[in-house]
């Protein structure tokens, strides 16, 4: 069995229809368990007080904001190289979800920054690169809407996605590249033996799993919708209705 089989829209819809109820279920369970655990059953931090509870939504949403764009990058490259429509539509489907994740990361960061840094916003390298990433999401979605021909829209948005990837990567590594900002280093790193205390780490892991599963569920659902919308347009065009 090849991965490219799922480039067939019918096969994609049939397969995702089977797995979607499971992904939705696991996403809701992980989010409810992770957020309830983190909010109600973890202690305050000795320096940050109760604002440490914001970590359970800020870190997963920031992680997904960057990874959603990287997923769009892979899907766009597949479109550019292999011209599979499903991959272009998957990238289109992921953009609003990624934009929401970026907005959540920016908003929760501001809520945390006000009491901890004494300001809602600073032109810090990571914050600024995240804001630019959010603007790229908006531009990407606007470009899809602005172009009537689906293939032309897919071509141009794919190029925009390649350019925007610079900011997705910068968002991730900004604190390493420029250390004069307010934002602390990465909360999670595969290089470290221990990232944060286990009492915060385990509920955070469950929340991350919940955000990842929610993202996958939404992208599958929205890709199915884009495939159906495209087929509707094609049928109407064939019948001379548009």
């Amino acid at each position: 069995m090849s991965l490219w089989e799922y480039a067939n829209p019918v096969k994609f819809i049939r397969t995702t229809d089977k797995v979607l109820p499971w992904i939705w279920t696991f996403a809701v369970v992980a989010l409810v368990v992770g957020l309830v655990w983190g909010f109600f059953f973890t202690p305050d931090d000795f320096r940050q007080g109760s604002t440490v509870k914001i970590i359970y939504i800020h870190v997963p949403s920031a992680l997904m904001a960057i990874n959603a764009w990287l997923m769009m990058l892979v899907a766009s490259l597949v479109w550019i190289v292999r011209r599979h429509h499903v991959s272009a539509l998957a990238a289109r489907a992921a953009a609003p979800v990624g934009a929401v994740m970026t907005l959540i990361a920016l908003a929760t960061g501001a809520f945390w920054g006000q009491p901890m840094w004494g300001t809602w916003w600073a032109w810090d390298p990571r914050l600024t690169s995240f804001l630019i990433l959010f603007l790229f999401y908006l531009g990407y979605m606007a470009l899809w809407e602005a172009i009537e021909d689906d293939d032309t829209a897919a071509d141009l948005t794919s190029i925009l996605c390649l350019v925007g990837s610079v900011f997705a990567i910068l968002s991730r590594y900004a604190v390493n590249f420029w250390n004069q900002g307010l934002h602390q280093g990465a909360t999670l790193s595969l290089d470290k033996e221990e990232n944060i205390s286990d009492v915060f780490w385990f509920p955070l892991l469950v929340c991350i799993a919940g955000f990842v599963l929610l993202f996958i569920a939404l992208v599958f659902l929205r890709t199915q919708t884009e495939i159906r919308a495209r087929r509707t347009r094609a049928l109407l065009a064939r019948e001379g209705q548009v």
Binding site: I57, V97, I104, F111, W112, Q224, R228, R231
Partner: protein, 51 residues
């Protein structure tokens, strides 16, 4: 309810915004999915009758 102290606005505000935005994207996605599906069914029926 945990004791959030002087940071209650920051913590509750963060959770409130997050739940609202996640609910919004889920509801909008489900609503559009239903609408597009119904529209395709109608066009396919119409197209089948005429084709």
């Amino acid at each position: 309810m945990p004791e959030l102290g002087k940071y209650a606005v920051a913590v509750l505000g963060s959770y409130g915004v997050t739940v609202a935005l996640l609910a919004l994207i889920v509801l909008v996605s489900l609503k559009r999915a239903r609408k597009v599906r119904a529209s395709l069914d109608e066009v396919e029926r119409w197209s089948g009758k005429n084709g």
